[in-house]
């Protein structure tokens, strides 16, 4: 137990040491600067999901890495602090979840059931698309975690034999696709109920879906964040139990 603790603290120490080097400081500041610009651009574009800050920042960093001849492995090491902070950030999700707790108790089993349905349909449909073409197992496993919030998806896919980095990409594209497709999809299935729409957006398209829900109204967004929270926890517990 002490070994694991020292190993974890050592890991953090190495990350901090890498950040304190010149390339570390430069790449961290570059990433944060591009991110700050990306937020501004996204706001100017009326929060268009296609111009999600993550898309702009990642493309910007990749371009800069190519132009400066920096290998992506090196970039990952220099900016490792950002990656490490994902752990504590995941833990911090307990706060919004706690804030939603009262609502979960009020709405009861039907809420949990509705969210669980979304949590099962989306990954199973996505997984089927990869299963029929006999894609590598790691790819199939990664796809199973695509509907939940990115930090949980990355960790969960790692535990069940997927690729965390790929999970991050699948998750963000899922969110963007969901936010764009939502109005059409709800019309197709003739669902006008705002609560139901919110639950679908949160449990299928996580945080990007929840942002879309916010533009549809506070009540839709409240249901969406419930879907995001509950489905995130349920999927992150169920997938590892089933697959490992």
């Amino acid at each position: 137990m002490i070994d694991i603790l020292t190993q974890e603290i050592n890991g953090l120490w190495m990350v901090l040491k890498d950040s304190a080097t010149l390339p570390g400081v430069v790449w961290l500041s570059v990433t944060l600067t591009i991110y700050a610009l990306a937020i501004k651009i996204n706001r100017l574009a009326g929060n268009n999901p296609l111009l999600h800050p993550l898309v702009i920042t990642a493309v910007g960093v990749m371009l800069l890495a190519v132009v400066t001849g920096t290998a992506i492995d090196d970039y990952q090491q220099h900016a490792g602090l950002l990656h490490w902070l994902l752990g504590p950030a995941t833990v911090a999700l307990a706060l919004p979840m706690y804030a939603q707790w009262q609502k979960v108790r009020e709405l009861g089993w039907q809420l949990v059931l509705a969210i669980a349905v979304g949590g099962i349909i989306a990954p199973v449909l996505a997984w089927l698309c990869l299963f029929v073409v006999d894609a590598p197992l790691a790819l199939q496993m990664t796809m199973l975690a695509k509907s939940i919030t990115t930090p949980l998806a990355m960790e969960t896919s790692r535990v069940i034999g997927g690729v965390p980095e790929l999970a991050a990409v699948f998750v963000i594209i899922t969110g963007i696709a969901g936010a764009i497709a939502a109005p059409l999809s709800f019309r197709l299935f003739q669902v006008a109920d705002r609560q139901a729409q919110g639950i679908a957006l949160g449990s299928v398209a996580h945080a990007v879906g929840t942002a879309k829900a916010l533009s549809m109204g506070e009540d839709v967004a409240a249901m969406a964040s419930l879907g995001l929270c509950l489905n995130g926890i349920m999927t992150a517990i169920v997938l590892p139990l089933v697959f490992s």
């Binding site: 694991i4 603790l5 974890e8 990433t31 991110y35 800050p53 993550l54 920042t57 990642a58 990952q76 490792g80 950002l82 990656h83 994902l86 752990g87 504590p88 950030a89 995941t90 833990v91 911090a92 706060l95 706690y98 039907q110 509705a114 349905v117 979304g118 349909i121 989306a122 449909l125 996505a126 990869l130 073409v133 894609a135 790819l139 796809m143 509907s147 930090p151 949980l152 960790e155 980095e165 790929l166 963000i172 899922t174 696709a177 969901g178 059409l184 999809s185 709800f186 197709l188 003739q190 669902v191 109920d193 609560q195 139901a196 679908a200 926890i233 992150a236 517990i237 590892p240 490992s244």
Partner: protein, 129 residues
């Protein structure tokens, strides 16, 4: 002590608490070899603590705020790594796109459709009670 220093200390302490919960989760998962993400266990520990306290301590809230509102930037290193995996993904680009776009659009509608029925059924049973 000036107010901004107090706030900065509070924020640092809140962040430190989150670090502790995260590392605690990792240590528990690894020493008990649980098949769960360590960060998830840390999250659940913190959630149980909040449910027990019945409130969110201001220190933890101020430490969590920057992480929660700017979580997006923390994914940048991971997303960039896709450049390294491009060769492995490329042959499956069509099915990956189908998996993501079609399944997401269908799941959204289907989930909402089922949710409406579940709510109706719940309401129906309440009336009969």
């Amino acid at each position: 002590m000036p107010a901004f220093l107090v706030n900065a200390c509070r924020q640092c302490f809140g962040l430190l608490m989150l670090f502790v919960f995260y590392i605690l989760g990792e240590v528990i998962v690894q020493s008990a070899s649980l098949p769960l993400p360590g960060a998830l266990v840390g999250l659940l520990l913190l959630l149980f603590m909040l449910l027990f306290l019945k409130r969110t301590p201001a220190t933890i809230a101020s430490g969590a705020r920057p992480l929660l509102s700017h979580m997006t930037v923390l994914f940048v290193p991971a997303v960039c790594a896709v450049m390294l995996m491009w060769q492995d993904i490329e042959p499956y680009l069509m099915s990956i796109s189908a998996a993501i776009f079609i399944s997401t659009a269908l799941s959204l509608g289907a989930t909402a459709w089922v949710a409406v029925r579940i709510f109706l059924a719940a309401k129906g049973s309440q009336h009969h009670d």
